[in-house]
């Protein structure tokens, strides 16, 4: 029997979290390097459609781990269900997205199995028969290649944007889906979660945006935000900001990108007057393309930009808005 990589995808109310495709892509990349087999699992209650959706991808098998007590999510139930499943299956490597939910239960799951998690990874290397996981340290100033020194199963989580979800390969035929019913005993689940809610009205999910126009300290004054908003509007994108802008109250907290805000990986990230402090970069470096406008040619944002404009954003953005409008009008 070949070694197995088990990708545990994430669902909320039966709907797959888009980041799941990235983890499938990660599993496929690891399989490509190691020759191991990729299987997928999804845990919850009433998750057969999510399992079927995953089965369209190039995976050997999909497990739907079902128990009524898996809904709503609690770390106790998820750790219990997955421990039962993993103890039977004994995969070599278990991969998950580094979401808030996974962060909440995977250390508990691994500890209960006497294992470790290499968390928040951004890459994978297979060197002399040993998997190495690349992860950022010291807030991204340094990176480390980390290996496991315990027996399998090994656990690793991947940062949002580390792999591209649209590169998750489809299968030639649907993979078989196997429903696994697990028993979660009385008394296991100690937390009682209430309804999920949004505090801010019109809260925006930046992780789903394809185009993001983001502003930093270089925007200078609150009234100048409007100019960035116009650019976002003509591009059909969302407006976002670095932490100082939200701390000043110029934009609501739910528009913050970075380690304390959202982690995004849009098709295009347009950084206006953002210097590129590491706390910001960790939240957007997975973007497909980055255009940065900054008057400081030494700004670290240019290290990761695909297109760099060294100049005053107040000179550049207004004609850009006009030019985009013209082009969209068929010019």
């Amino acid at each position: 029997m070949s070694d197995t990589i088990l990708v545990v995808v994430e669902q909320r109310e039966g709907k797959l979290n888009r980041v799941s495709w990235e983890t499938i892509a990660a599993g496929q990349a690891v399989a490509g390097a190691t020759g191991w087999t990729v299987e997928a699992a999804v845990a919850g209650s009433g998750i057969s459609s999510a399992a079927n959706e995953i089965a369209a991808k190039k995976v050997a098998r999909v497990y739907a781990i079902e128990a009524p007590r898996l809904e709503p999510y609690t770390p106790d139930a998820f750790a219990s269900a997955l421990k039962q499943f993993l103890t039977t299956k004994q995969p070599k490597l278990v991969l998950m997205p580094h979401t808030y939910q996974v962060r909440d239960f995977i250390p508990k799951l691994a500890t209960a199995m006497g294992r470790a998690v290499i968390s928040d990874c951004i890459g994978f290397k297979y060197e002399s028969g040993k998997p190495h996981f690349t992860r950022q340290m010291f807030q991204g100033k340094l990176v480390a290649d980390v290996s496991f020194s315990s027996d399998p199963p090994w656990f690793a989580t991947f940062q949002n944007g580390a792999f591209r979800g649209d590169q998750a390969e489809a299968g030639t035929a649907a993979a078989p889906v196997e429903t696994v019913r697990v028993e979660i005993a009385d008394g296991v689940v100690r937390n009682k979660p209430k309804e999920v809610f949004k505090e801010v009205k019109q809260a925006v999910d930046l992780t789903q945006a394809e185009i993001i126009v983001s502003v930093g300290r270089g925007i200078k004054e609150q009234k100048n935000i409007e100019m960035a908003k116009q650019l976002a509007d003509v591009l059909g994108g969302e407006l976002a900001a670095s932490r100082p802008i939200c701390d000043s109250g110029w934009l609501p907290m739910d528009r913050q990108v970075g380690s304390s805000g959202q982690t995004v990986a849009p098709k295009l990230y347009f950084a206006l007057g953002i210097s590129g402090a590491i706390q910001h970069i960790v939240g957007m470096k997975g973007s497909r393309a980055i255009i940065a406008v900054n008057k400081d040619s030494e700004a670290p944002i240019f290290e990761i930009a695909d297109y760099a404009v060294v100049g005053n954003l107040f000179d550049i953005v207004p004609p850009l808005i006009e030019e985009v409008k013209k082009t969209k009008a068929g010019g």
């Binding site: 209960a112 968390s119 950022q136 990176v143 240019f302 290290e303 930009a305 030019e323 985009v324 082009t327």
Partner: protein
């Protein structure tokens, strides 16, 4: 309520870091500060004590320099401190750090243990949750609010994308605290004076050695990230830059 706050000393945010000779860790001659979320965890513990009475104990693991974190916490109002003092603690993985912490407090009946949600150095975001499991306690992560209830506590968890959730849970419990849950206080002059006389218990590596094992993960190599992107500089007068950018947006990025 008797609350333990796990705190960590990490390199200052803007400190330039240099690699050590083996390329597996940084050179230790940098400036340090308290891990930011841990400062919020301490503040929250102090506020809970002000509301419900009790005791706030702070704990850290690390070499002698890490005592500074405890001294600052005592000056802000923590009642006493525990220092697992040895430079070897720096190299422990999250699993072993949690085991060492659990061993150091095994005779102390806490109601709550707070940690920051993650550290600015390793950034595992795991130690608090592992500690909860080792103790057999429930936990909740990325906490933005804590209220005492008749049967335990009600906490507010931050979820992704602007979502939140209240969770009721029994005590004792472990909570990992998010930055921004409260406004940090400064140490007062009188606090700094009083801190000198507050108890600080030292725990040696030898005292917890039997509880910890080999690390389950190993840093093979630490290095400066390589610039992988080729950056195209777009120059010219603003109107020309705008035209060039639109051309990129349309023809290379295909978003127009």
């Amino acid at each position: 309520m008797k609350i333990l706050v796990c705190m960590k000393q990490v390199p200052q945010k803007d400190a330039p870091l240099k690699l050590n000779d083996t390329g597996t860790w940084i050179r230790e001659d940098v400036a340090y500060e308290v891990n930011e979320p841990d400062a919020y965890a301490l503040e929250e513990a102090l506020r809970q004590r002000e509301k419900h009475k009790g005791e706030v104990v702070v704990i850290t693991s690390g070499p002698a320099r890490a005592q500074q974190v405890l001294r600052e916490a005592l000056a802000k109002g923590a009642d006493r401190a525990i220092h697992l003092e040895d430079e070897k603690f720096v190299g422990l993985d999250a699993f072993n750090t949690a085991k060492a912490l659990a061993a150091a407090i095994k005779d102390e009946p806490f109601d709550l243990i707070f940690t920051g949600l993650q550290s600015d150095d390793y950034g595992y975001a795991q130690t608090g949750v592992i500690l909860a499991d080792l103790l057999g306690w429930p936990h909740a992560t990325i906490i933005m609010q804590i209220e005492k209830t008749d049967s335990g506590i009600r906490v507010k968890r931050e979820l992704e994308a602007g979502f939140f959730q209240f969770v009721d849970m029994p005590l004792p419990a472990v909570l990992t605290i998010q930055s921004g849950i409260n406004k940090l206080r400064y140490a007062t002059l009188i606090g700094i004076k009083q801190a000198k006389n507050k108890p600080l218990r030292k725990v040696t590596l030898g005292e917890v050695l039997s509880a910890i094992g080999e690390n389950l993960q190993k840093i093979e190599r630490l290095y400066v990230p390589q610039k992988t992107k080729k950056t195209e500089v777009i120059e010219g007068p603003p109107a020309e830059v705008a035209k060039k950018l639109v051309d990129k947006l349309r023809n290379e990025l295909q978003v127009l």
